[in-house]
Every structure is written in C-alpha cells, then in structure tokens.
C-alpha cells in the first residue's frame, strides 16, 4: 500500500512536469488572445515550424530544396555549414518575427473587428498553410534536434528519494530544464509586460483596443510584437518537445494538448495557463495511473481503462466549464442587452 502511495507521488510529480510542458504551449495562446482576441490554433504548427527552422539553420539545410530540385533538376540539399545552437536560435527568432509580420500584414489586418469564431477558423487555415509551407521548406523526414539539453533520469533525485522512501523517483532532466525555462520565461514576460514601454503598451491594448489607440499606441506594432513573442514561446516549446521526439509532423499536435489547458485556465490569464497546465498534467497522469493499475480499476469495472490521455483533459475541461464557463481565472461574463 505504501508502495502504491509512492507510485502515485511519482506519477503526481511527473504530471506536474508534463503540465509545465503543456502550459508552455498554452502560454503562446494566451499572449495572442489577450492582445488581439485571436484564439490562435496555429500555435502548435508554429512550434513545429520554428523547430524545423531551427534544425534547418543548424544543419545548413537549403530551404525549399526539394521543390527546387524537382523543378530545375538540380541536386542541392545542404549549404555545408553547421551553425551553433545559440546563433541558430537567434536566426529562428528573426524568422518568427518575419512570420509575425506576414501574418499581421496579410491576414489579421484584414480581419480586424471580425467575430472571434471567424478569427479562430482563420487560424485553423493558417495552421494548414504553415504546415504545408514547413513541409515544402524543410522536408517531412524526422530531424534530430540537439541543442545540448540534458535528458534522462535525474540521478540525484533518484538517490535522495531512494534513501528517504526506499523507492527512487523518476524525474526526467529534460522536464526539469523545461520547468526552469518555463519559470524564466514567465518571469521574463511579466517583467517585460510590467516594466518596458512596449510591454505596457501591450497591456493597454489587452485591456481596451480603442483606448490604447486613442493614447497613441500603434496596434499594428503591438500585434506584430505579440505574434513575435508567441513565436518565440512556440520555439521554446518546439525545442522542448522536439528534443524528446525529434522534429516531425506530430509536433504540431501538441496544440491539442494545450486547448483543454486554456479552457480550464481561461484564455486571458497567464497564471491560468500555468495552473491549468498543472491540473491537466497531474489529472491525466493520475487518472491513467489509477485506471490502468490493474489492482484498482480492474475490480471496479472488470476491465482496465487505458490510453485515456487523449480525451481525459478535454472531458475534465468540459465538465469544469459547465460549472464555470469563464474558466479558472477568466473574467466573469456579464450578459447585457
């Protein structure tokens, strides 16, 4: 029994870590939504695209080489250089800023004042578009991403917990790094939002577009900036997830992990995204643990329920929303006529 408790604690801790990763993706959503009211479904594809770009730059891949070769009969693939990770990250950030500018200039400038649901569907279109472009640009094979992050079991925690409980806990080094990065990222964002001129303008826009406009804030600039920051957050998420599984198509599906986090935490709240992520992470891991450990659920249902993680978060969020439609930290909705 005590052992079960340790197991549950281990699962709980790992759930927290997974939650941090979900929150990292959700953070990008919140930023854009707060500033522009756009629920950006393409955030997951942005993570994929930025990770692809990062690997592409690091390995000196020629963009669109496949289509160039097919059209002109050439045989070019690589520039033949290798860029250190830090420079490549910098290059990728530039690409993401460019992307933000394009998105703002050619899409959302034309959709100002549309209903949120229209904007949402536009971002689904954007997701498809970007996915196609990413494939055309960098190819669709799996790429190994190594920016030097540690991975694997953390021995210190394993040993310490073993000495304490007689059972060593498993915590992934990558998860620890991700947590640290996420914390730094949030602190950075808060500092940026509170103390920099641009950040204050951003918050002003989030509060009230019209008012911000009337005191001379350039909406266009703010929106490009917000998309750029979201692109940066996507890159961070892309690095974390890509390190684990290699950079490939499925990376874009992490957006699906972030949606219930947002529903739970509210679309406008950064703390909401983090708490929501943690709740979902812990919830789905513990649920899976209790359902699939045969001793517990087997007696209840006669069969074990497993592989629940795809829907658990959604159902949890759904049930939660029915009782609190604005999410955990969202502002209360007052209806008026």
């Amino acid at each position: 029994m005590l052992e079960q408790l340790y197991f549950a604690m281990e699962v709980f801790l790992n759930g927290l870590m997974a939650g941090v990763l979900y929150a990292l993706v959700a953070l990008g959503f919140v930023l854009i939504f707060k500033a522009s009211g756009i629920f950006n479904y393409a955030q997951g594809v942005m993570a994929l695209f930025s990770a692809l770009t990062l690997v592409g730059i690091m390995d000196g891949q020629v963009p669109f080489s496949h289509i160039i070769n097919a059209t002109f009969g050439t045989d070019i693939h690589h520039f033949g250089w290798h860029v250190p990770a830090l420079f490549a990250i910098f290059g990728t950030v530039i690409v993401m800023v460019l992307f933000a500018w394009i998105v703002q200039r050619y899409i959302f400038r034309h959709l100002v004042g549309q209903e949120p649901i229209i904007l949402f569907m536009a971002t689904i279109g954007l997701a498809y578009f970007l996915e196609g472009v990413g494939d055309l640009m960098w190819g669709s094979e799996i790429k190994k991403l190594d920016v030097g992050l540690p991975q694997g079991i953390n021995d210190t925690i394993d040993q310490v917990t073993y000495e304490m409980f007689g059972y060593g806990f498993f915590i992934d080094n990558l998860d620890i790094v991700a947590t640290v990065v996420a914390v730094l990222l949030v602190i950075g964002l808060v500092i940026f939002a509170q103390y920099s001129k641009e950040g204050r303008a951003m918050r002003a826009v989030a509060d009230d577009h019209q008012a911000a406009l009337s005191v001379g804030v350039s909406l266009n600039f703010i929106w490009i900036m917000v998309w750029s920051v979201a692109g940066f957050v996507a890159l961070v998420a892309g690095i974390m997830w890509g390190t684990k599984s290699g950079v490939q198509f499925s990376l874009s599906l992490i957006a699906l992990k972030a949606l219930p986090v947002l529903m739970l935490g509210g679309f406008t709240s950064i703390p909401g995204a983090i708490v929501g992520g943690l709740i979902i992470g812990v919830g789905e891991k513990l649920f899976e643990f209790f359902m699939s450990s045969s001793a517990l659920a087997g007696e209840l249902f006669g069969f074990t329920i497993s592989a629940t993680e795809n829907w658990f978060a959604y159902v949890l969020a759904l049930i939660f929303l029915v009782f609190r439609p604005q999410g955990l930290f969202g502002e209360k909705i007052i209806e008026r006529v």
């Binding site: 693939h77 094979e141 190594d146 498993f170 599984s245 699939s292």
Partner: protein
Amino acid sequence: MKMKLPAMALSALMIASPVMADLVFPSLSYRTGPYAAGGIPFADGYADYFTMLNARDGGIGGVEARVLECETGYNTEKGVECYESTKGEGALVYQPLSTGITYQLIPKATADGIAIHSMGYGRTSAANGKVFSNVFNYPANYWNGASGAINYLMSQGDISGKKVALVYHNSAYGKEPIRTLEELSAKHGYDLTLIPVDHPGQEQKSQWLQIRREKPDYVIMYGWGVMNQVAVQEAANIRFNMENFIGIWWSGSENDVLPAGEKANGYKALTFHGVGDDFPVFDDIKEHVVDAGNAAGAGDQIGTVLYNRGLYAAMLAAEAVKTAQEIHGVADINAAQMRDGMEALEITEDKMAALGLPGFGPSFKVSCENHGGPGLVGMTQWDAAAKEWTLISDFSPSDMDLIQPLIDEDSMAYAAENKIEPSC
C-alpha cells in the same frame, strides 16, 4: 521521380502518346502526413528497384516496369482514390502500405481480380489463401513477428515466470499481436502486461512510468510514427535495458532510434529482410539509378531499413512477374497472371544471390493455401556508434502450430461473414 524541365515536357508528351506495353506497379506512398518519415524511404526503395531493372535489364522479361506513385498521406480515402485511379492503368499488384487501406482494398481488389501484397502488415489472416485468393502477406506477418520475438527471448534464456510488456499503438495494427502473445503466454508461462499508447504517442510518460514500476523483464513494442521515437527515448530515460527492448519491424528503422542518440544503443527490432547496403544490388542501384539522376527521392535513404523494405517488396514483385511470365509464357502479363505468379513464387538462396541480394531475406515458397509463407523472422540490433542496424540472428521459424489455427479461425469467420467459398 526527379524531373528536369525538358523531361517534364517529355513526360507530358508521353502521356499523350499511345500506351506501350508495360508492367504497372502502383505505389500507394505517403510522403506527407504524420508517418511521412516512414513512407518516404519505402517508396524510394520500391521505385528505385524498378528503375534499376529498367535501366539495367530493360525491364522484366523485356517489358518495361512502370511505377505509378500515388500519394495517400496514410489516409484511407486517398488510398481508395489512388486505387481507383490506378487500377485502370493495368495495375498488377498493390502495396497498400497501410493497414486501413489494406482492409479497404481486400474486397475491392478481390472483386477486380487484382492482387494485394501487404508485406508485414495488413490483415494477418489473409495468409489463408483459401479464403483470401488475391491477398498475399508473405514472407511474414504480425503474428509471426510476435512469436518470433518470444522465440528469440527463449533462445536467450528461460522465459517462464518472466514478465513481458507489450507497448502498442492503440489501433487495429497495434492490437494485432495481443491474441498471439496471450496464447503464447499460456503456452510458455510468462506474464503479459498490455500497455496501449493512443495516437499519436507524443506523450508516453504514464506508460513508461508504469513500466518502471512493474519492471517487466522484456518489452515488446508495436509502434508507428512518433510513438517509436518517444518510446525509445523514454525507455532510455528510465534506463530500461535496451537489450531487452524489442520492436516489431515497423518500430525498427533508423528514424526511430536516431533521435535518442547514444542511448538507443542495443535496441532490437524484428525483421524479415536484410539490413545495410552491403549487397551487390546496391552497386547497380548506384550506377543505374542514383548516378543517372533517376533516384526516386533525395537518394540519401539508400540502405536504410525502410528503403531496403521497399526494395525487397519490389524484388518480390519482380520475381513474381518472372514466375508469371514463365507460367503463362507471355511477357506482358495481366493482373490475373500476376496473381498466379505470386501464388507460385519461390524464393531461394540461389535466386537471391543471383539478384545481388545474397541472404537478404528468408527462403520461402508460396502456395495456393498459404499466402503468408513460412513466417521466418530475424532479429536486428541498433549500433548507435556506427549508426547502423545489424542482423543478429538467422531468419528462424515462428510458432506456426500456434499461429495457423488462429489464422484459420479468423479467416473462416471472414469467409462466413462474406459468404466466401474456400477454394484450393
């Protein structure tokens, strides 16, 4: 299918020109979508082998082979569309390359009299040629794979009382080995734990924590796509001994182990064909295909596991064509003759050596009753330092005594449901 601009114009002309006698091999590839990384090398290998035959031998038996590539994106509907659009071209044999599409095409292709070769995937019980007249899944199927893995473990030591965990893609494909492994567990006395991973498998912490808790002695994996890479990575993270971690052949390509780097060293995977590019045939491929600028893909996949699998599939198809040409005495065979050729196919060591593929696959013989071959499977192991797979066992038999009744049971159920009169 690299094309230069003039060649493009030429091909446009060729479409307009009258159809010449050729042997059509549709390739339902998936170079896009979630499984693109697996689909690309297979399609490359499949196409390159025929390109090589055309360039080196002037086709098969003097008739040019034509590969019709059609992109499915691993999507069932696209698969149907591809089937319908290519079958009119005189398609000889289909490689559906997806379990879903295979299931779809089984009745359709049977009605149309075209053969399907689902090599190492698809409907396992299609091995029963009495029921599935037009479906072939030689040389090995999923149940052979499961049995082969257990056989391999038994060759390493006593397995009774040991714990075996099956980590599987929670889909039709992943569920395939469960029955076999259960029967085998009853027979050999090991404990089986089932651990499903839902599509896509990006996040498997729960599953691997469970493995860490329950400490199985061996883990067998039926995974696909991103699930493979994450599983290998997570196994490395929890320091699961890679020696005791065995993947099915769809979980045993370079794609699956490279992202984990050094830590994937020692990981094993089943196979039914050779690995590496240390075969004479690759010299021909280099000479006639790559250097001539006719490689299907970027040319960087040659010698990878899935490229070899595509090449192997093409080789088996070409050999079946030769067999059919012998049986019927015509060079430009049709689909029905192709089916006869596949049913009479015999692969021997000598044949493979003559093709420049000595020891590349098991020797086997197809018959009217048995479309699945003898079910010989081998084991490969990943050497992370050298970045290559090595074959570490012979192609050895699986437990057909146990599998055959399962095949019969499932196929007869299908026959009853669809009112098929078993032939042969």
